[in-house]
Symmetry: C2
Subunit: 396 residues, 2 copies
C-alpha cells in the first residue's frame, strides 16, 4: 500500500471517496464490472463499519409507515446472501453469516403488546414470525432471564460478522484491481467553465496527494460525507453523525457458547441487542447519541449496555469485556439512505445508510454500479436519490 | 536494554527477582547504597503495580485487631513522603502525590455506624479524622450524590499516581546503575555441598539467559513469588494471587475536575473507591477475586464498578472509560507482607504486600537495604519475617 502523500493514480474511471463497507462494496463490484477504480480513504480499514453488530434486520419499530424504506431494506436483505456467497467464494474467507434468526423478547405485557404490533407489521410485509411464550423462548436460549414475558422469533433476521465482512470486501476489491489511496477527498472538482446545468465532474482533490482525474466520482464517506466540498447545496448538511457505542464480549476459555440467536429486547425504554459470533464473541449494542463527531467511550453508556445485557442474559456477567468502541452512523433527516446521481454530472452519492450500512451494502453496490455503467438501479431506490435534499440557490 | 536471552551480568552483589514497585524500590535504594544490583523481570514495567489506585491509606476495616500490621502500615505512611520527594528530586518527575485526603461516605445509618467504629479505631492509632454531615460532605465534593448520609474526612490518607511513581522508580534505579535483565528467575541457587543449616545462595537461574552469580538474592516477585524454585518449604505456597479489576476514567476535553479527594464508600456491601489524578483521570476500584492467576476483565466486574461509582458520584457517567484492567495482588494467609531474611543464607524475601504494595514500598526498600547491608530493619517489621510461614521437613 503506498504511503500517504504518494499519489498512485493520476486518472481513473471512477474515484470512490470512503472505504467503509459501502465504498468498498461499490469499489469491488465496479472493478469486477471492468472499471478502473481508485478508492480514497485516510483510514482505510478503520471505518464506522467496524463498530457494528452486523444485524441483517430489515424491519424495526422506526419503520411503521416508512413503506419505501421497508421496500429497499427488503431488497437489500434478499440480495445479501448471494453477495456474501460470492464474496466468500472469491476470497476464500467466511464472513460469518448466521442464519439462526433473531429472538425479540418482551419483559412485560406492554412490551409484548408492542412486539405483537411489530409482528403484524412484519407479516404484512411477507416476513416470517413465530410467537413464543416464556418457556418456549427459554427453550431456544437456555440462558435467557426467567423474567421474560414472551417473544417472537424472526427466522429471516440474520447477522453477519461485520469485521470479517469488511475485511473480505477489502480483499475482494484488491483482487479485482482496486487501487487504494490513503488520503482524504477534500473536494469534488468540476470541469472549468461549465454552467450549473451542464457541469461535469473532472476528478477529486486530496488532502495531501494532489488530484485524481476522473469523470465519475462516488461519495461514500458515511458521516464525513458533508466534509467533501463541491457537493450540491443541501447535500452537505443532509448527513449527520449519530454516535453508537457498543461492546464486544468474549467467552472465557472453555465456556460453551451462551447464545445462538440474535436477541433483541427493550430494557428501561432502550433497545438492546446481543449478537453471537462464530468465534465466541457476543456483540452488545448500541447507544444512539446526537453528539456530533464524538468518538469517546463513556462510563455511562458502557454501564447501561452491560446492565441491559445482563438483564436479558444474566450469564453475560461472566464473559470477558474484550472491547468497548464507538462509531458514527451517517444519519439523514428522513432516516433513508442517499443513493443515486447528483449534479454535477458524473457525481454519485452512496451515503446516509444510518443503522443499516451492512444490510444495505450489497444492494447499494448493485445500484451504484448500475448508475456508473449507464443502467437504471432497481426501482426500490427511486425514493432515495440525492434530489430530495437539494436546495435551490439562495435557500438554506 | 539488552534483548531477552542476552545475559548482561554474570555476577552481581545482589540479584532482585521482580520489577514491580517493591523490587524496583529496593533496587534503587540498594544501588544508591553502593551495591552492584541486577534486577530480573520478564515484563519489567508491566507489573501488578500498574493496576492500582495508589491509595496511601494505612487503616481499613480489615485491620481491626491486626495491631502489628497497622504499625508497619503507619511506618510506611510516615516514610512515604520523604521517599517520594527524593524520587522526584532525583528524576525531575512528579509522582502525583495528592494530599487532599480521603472522604469516606456512608449511605445509611448502618454504614455510618460502621464508619464511626472505624473512625474511633483510627483515632486510637493517632490518625486524624473529622466527622461530617451530608451537607458538609457535599460542600467538600459538590458532585457527590445527595443520598449520602454522612462521612468522615481522613486528611492523612493520601494517594500517589502509581504509574508515575513506578516509572520514576525505574528511572531512578537506572540512574543509580541498576542493570535490568528481561528474564524470569526460575530458581534460587544454593552453594553445592552445604547442609540445610549452613546453605548459602550462590545466585539465580534464569528461564532463558543462564545464571547470575550472587551471594544475595531478593525475591520480590509479587504473586509470582511462589513460582521461584529453591525457596524454603512453606514459603512457595504462602503467596497467592488475589485478582483486582479496576477502571481508569478520564474527563472529556473541557470538563473541569469532578473530584478533589479520594472517595471511599460501601455500595451493596462492596467497597468502592474513586481516586482523582492530577492529569484528569479518576481511578475506580476494585474487585477482590480469588480466581488464581486470571487476568481477564469481566463484564460483570466492570458493570459493578461503574454502577457503584455512579451511585457515589453520578457525574462519572459522563466521564470517558479510558481503560479497564486487572492485576494480581500477592495475598498471604494473614494478610501481612513477607519481608526479611529466609534460609538459605543471603536469601531475602520482600513480597506478599497484598493491597498495600504502593504504600509499603518505601519502608520495604529501607528494610531490605538494612538486611542487605547487615543492619537491622525497623522493629515494626519483626512480625513479618518469612519464618512465620516456614514448615519443617515432612510438613506440608
Amino acid at each position: 500500500m503506498p504511503a500517504k502523500g504518494v499519489l498512485v493514480a493520476v486518472t481513473a474511471d471512477v474515484v470512490i471517496a470512503g472505504g467503509g463497507v459501502i465504498g468498498t462494496a461499490i469499489a469491488w463490484r465496479a472493478a469486477a464490472a471492468g472499471l478502473d477504480v481508485v478508492l480514497a480513504d485516510p483510514a482505510y480499514g478503520d471505518a464506522a463499519s467496524l463498530v457494528a453488530a452486523g444485524m441483517l434486520a430489515p424491519v424495526s419499530e422506526a419503520l411503521f409507515g416508512e413503506g419505501a424504506l421497508l421496500r429497499v431494506n427488503l431488497l437489500a436483505l434478499a440480495r445479501f446472501p448471494s453477495f456474501a456467497a460470492e464474496l466468500e467464494q472469491v476470497t476464500g474467507h467466511r464472513v460469518g453469516l448466521r442464519r439462526e434468526g433473531t429472538l425479540a423478547v418482551a419483559f412485560d405485557a406492554g412490551d409484548y403488546a408492542a412486539l405483537t404490533r411489530l409482528t403484524a407489521f412484519r407479516r404484512s410485509a411477507g416476513l416470517e414470525a413465530e410467537e413464543l411464550d416464556s418457556r418456549a423462548c427459554r427453550k431456544l436460549e437456555s440462558f435467557l432471564t426467567p423474567d421474560v414475558h414472551g417473544g417472537v422469533l424472526f427466522p429471516g433476521d440474520w447477522s453477519v460478522d461485520n469485521r470479517r465482512y469488511a475485511a473480505a470486501l477489502r480483499e475482494a476489491a484488491a483482487a479485482a484491481g482496486v487501487r487504494v489511496v490513503r488520503d482524504r477527498v477534500t473536494e469534488v472538482l468540476t470541469a472549468d467553465g461549465a454552467d450549473d446545468a451542464n457541469a461535469r465532474v473532472r476528478g477529486v482533490a486530496l488532502a495531501e496527494s494532489g488530484e485524481i482525474g476522473s469523470d465519475r466520482v462516488v461519495v461514500a464517506a458515511g458521516s464525513w460525507s458533508g466534509a467533501v466540498h463541491g457537493l450540491p447545496a443541501g447535500l452537505r448538511s443532509a448527513v449527520r453523525p449519530v454516535k453508537g457505542q457498543l461492546l464486544r464480549l468474549r467467552h472465557p476459555d472453555g465456556m460453551p457458547p451462551v447464545l445462538t440467536h440474535t436477541i433483541r429486547a427493550t430494557v428501561r425504554g432502550a433497545d438492546v441487542y446481543l449478537v453471537p459470533r462464530a468465534d465466541g464473541e457476543v456483540i452488545v449494542g448500541a447507544t444512539q447519541e446526537e453528539r456530533g463527531p464524538d468518538l469517546t467511550v463513556t462510563a455511562g453508556a458502557v454501564h447501561d449496555l452491560l446492565h441491559d445485557a445482563m438483564s436479558v442474559l444474566p450469564v453475560t456477567s461472566e464473559l470477558i469485556l474484550a472491547e468497548t468502541c464507538a462509531g458514527l452512523r451517517p444519519g439523514t433527516p428522513d432516516n433513508g439512505p442517499i443513493v443515486g446521481d447528483a449534479g454535477p454530472g458524473g457525481l454519485l452519492l452512496a451515503t446516509g445508510h444510518y443503522r443499516n450500512g451492512i444490510l444495505m451494502s450489497a444492494a447499494t453496490a448493485d445500484a451504484a454500479v448500475a448508475c456508473l455503467t449507464g443502467r437504471a438501479p432497481a426501482p426500490e431506490w427511486e425514493p432515495f436519490g440525492p434530489g430530495r435534499f437539494l436546495t435551490r440557490q439562495g435557500e438554506r
